[in-house]
């Protein structure tokens, strides 16, 4: 039970001479909601990119253990699609939907790595393919309902309101059937009401699907109320970790956020 599903060990990432991540350590336990916070430019998104295979870490290890049974697999250096197939799905800070595909199609894309209709199946449209297609449509629709977007099923993604696009990204990520969902600033650009609803949705997803969730977020109220544990990143370094209460009381964290005062 206490085996983490994600275990990141001493990951570094350099861009030219800039060290965006410096020996970052982090772990996520089964069915946990973990938040990653830090000032702008701290390297949070880079951290996501490194563990999902979009960037290859300069050094360090990323280990996953989907079943939390102590059988960790090393995944750094693997391609993003392989990582997703292994069960880590993400959303993007600057929304990356497929703009000229419908909401439903966007979610259907998420099921791609869990389905297997081939060229042959596509052309002959045999029974297995038809059934698979039906199941995909059904599941995608249900996911859209879950995130409250069923009224937009056949709307092009680019025509959906901004806040809802973030929800659509979550549905699309869920369609890949992950054990760990990574959300990059899911509440960015949302009003307090929407943020609240989003918080409820994230908790519901955790309970309903029994998966772990890790999120990057700047909205402290949301982070404090919903996370089990929080990690704080500053200049690429994990400077603190603990429960929301511990983080709120941690002087290093306060310094990182209000650093300018002390430096002066």
């Amino acid at each position: 039970m206490n085996n983490p599903v994600l275990n990141v060990k001493a990951v570094c990432k350099d861009f030219g001479g800039v060290r965006a991540l410096d020996e970052a350590e982090l772990s996520v336990n089964d069915k946990e909601i973990v938040a990653l916070i830090g000032p702008n430019g701290a390297g949070k998104t880079t951290f996501f990119n490194c563990i999902t295979g979009i960037y290859t870490p300069t050094s360090g290890d990323v280990l996953i253990d989907p079943a939390a049974k102590g059988q960790a697999v090393r995944i750094n250096g693997k391609k993003p699609n392989v990582v997703t197939e292994l069960g880590m799905a993400r959303t993007f800070q600057n929304i990356r939907l497929f703009p000229s595909m419908t909401a439903l199609e966007n979610v259907m894309i998420g099921t791609h790595c869990r389905t297997k209709a081939s060229v042959w199946g596509a052309i002959t449209r045999n029974k297995a393919t038809r059934e698979e297609e039906q199941a995909v449509i059904k599941r995608s629709y249900e996911l859209l309902q879950l995130v409250g977007l069923d009224e937009f099923v056949n709307e092009l993604a680019e025509n959906i309101p901004y806040g809802k696009q973030r929800r659509l990204e979550i549905a699309r990520a869920l369609a890949t059937d992950p054990f760990l969902l990574l959300l990059d600033e899911p509440a960015a650009g949302m009003n307090p009401q929407e943020t609240k609803e989003l918080e409820a949705l994230i908790c519901q997803i955790r309970d309903q699907f029994g998966i772990s969730i890790m999120l990057i977020e700047h909205d402290m109220k949301m982070v404090m109320s919903m996370s089990d544990r929080i990690y704080v990143l500053d200049y690429g370094r994990m400077i603190a970790t603990g429960t929301p209460q511990e983080i709120a009381d941690n002087p290093a964290v306060i310094k990182a956020y209000l650093g300018e005062d002390d430096d002066a």
Partner: protein, 300 residues
């Protein structure tokens, strides 16, 4: 040994011409990330303009050297005008369109220009008048180096130096570098990006026109199709050196010219173009950033 020298100089000459064309590709790519497919056609139009002007002047009885100078100037003026116009017509309306759109537009433009010249002029090879006089001091070395080769290499070196100084020290040159690095930022600090793009096309086209006239003098004949092959080869040179990099284009062009010269000289002349294309394919597969280019990671 003499054969080797001859090949070496032949390679240098080729490389010089490729460099003059490759600079245009690389500059345009550096600024708007577009492979200006029609650039080879600009070179061809430069050669044709040079031929027309030179033909007229010869008939009017002008002396040789002045003909070359006037023909070069006219070729530069008109090629630059074509380059400028092409950008305005075929690329500018497509800023912000999906990446494939301007590329297809460029291919269309290239097809159009080739046929435009073919229909207006001729589809046959046209003999190009001999404009470069035989230099007396080169007589003894005639077997290894002709005067036109010397002129080409010298003109290329001068153009490259001029361009480098221009980019480095003039205001427009600095604006170009800034735009190449970050177009949005350049716009924010008040650089007239449209003008910079136009200037890039004009400079690139002018260099190609110089190349077109000189190679036409050297080879002695032109047709509407010369831009296509030369264009692809110059593009190869640009990629070889690292597209977007000006010194890279020069180095890439030299490497390509020499490779071609030695490969055709020592291996087989039937497969002349195959060497260039194979080199292109190999570089793109194994080192798409080229000799001088830097690998870029896309920011997510």
């Amino acid at each position: 040994m003499e054969y080797f020298l001859e090949l070496l100089l032949g390679g240098l000459t080729r490389g010089s011409i490729y460099a003059l064309i490759a600079l245009g590709y690389t500059m345009v790519y550096g600024i708007i990330e577009l492979i200006n497919f029609a650039h080879g056609e600009i070179y061809m139009i430069g050669a044709f303009t040079g031929l027309i002007v030179a033909g007229l002047l010869t008939m009017l009885g002008f002396p040789g050297a002045s003909i070359l100078a006037i023909a070069l100037i006219c070729a530069v003026i008109w090629s630059a005008a074509y380059g400028y116009t092409i950008e305005k017509v075929a690329y500018k309306p497509l800023r912000g369109a999906p990446r494939l759109s301007p590329l297809i537009s460029a291919i269309g433009m290239s097809i159009f220009l080739q046929n435009y010249v073919m229909l207006s002029q001729t589809s046959d090879f046209l003999p190009f008048p001999e404009l470069i006089p035989e230099f007396g001091f080169l007589k003894e070395y005639n077997s290894v180096m002709s005067s036109s080769e010397l002129v080409i290499v010298a003109a290329t070196i001068l153009s490259c130096i001029g361009l480098t100084l221009f980019i480095k020290f003039t205001k427009l040159g600095k604006a170009m570098r800034a735009t190449a690095q970050n177009r949005k930022m350049a716009m924010l600090v008040g650089i007239n990006v449209n003008m910079v793009i136009s200037a890039t096309f004009i400079i690139g086209s002018s260099l190609a026109a110089v190349g077109g006239v000189l190679i036409a003098c050297h080879v002695g004949q032109i047709n509407y199709y010369i831009g296509f092959i030369a264009g692809i080869k110059a593009f190869t040179a640009a990629v070889l050196g690292g597209i977007g990099s000006i010194p890279g284009a020069m180095i890439g062009a030299l490497v390509l010219g020499l490779t071609e010269a030695f490969a055709t000289g020592y291996v087989s002349s039937d497969y002349e173009d195959v060497f260039a294309f194979s080199l292109l394919v190999l570089i793109l597969i194994f080192r798409p950033a080229g000799i001088m280019g830097k690998e870029k990671t896309q920011k997510v």
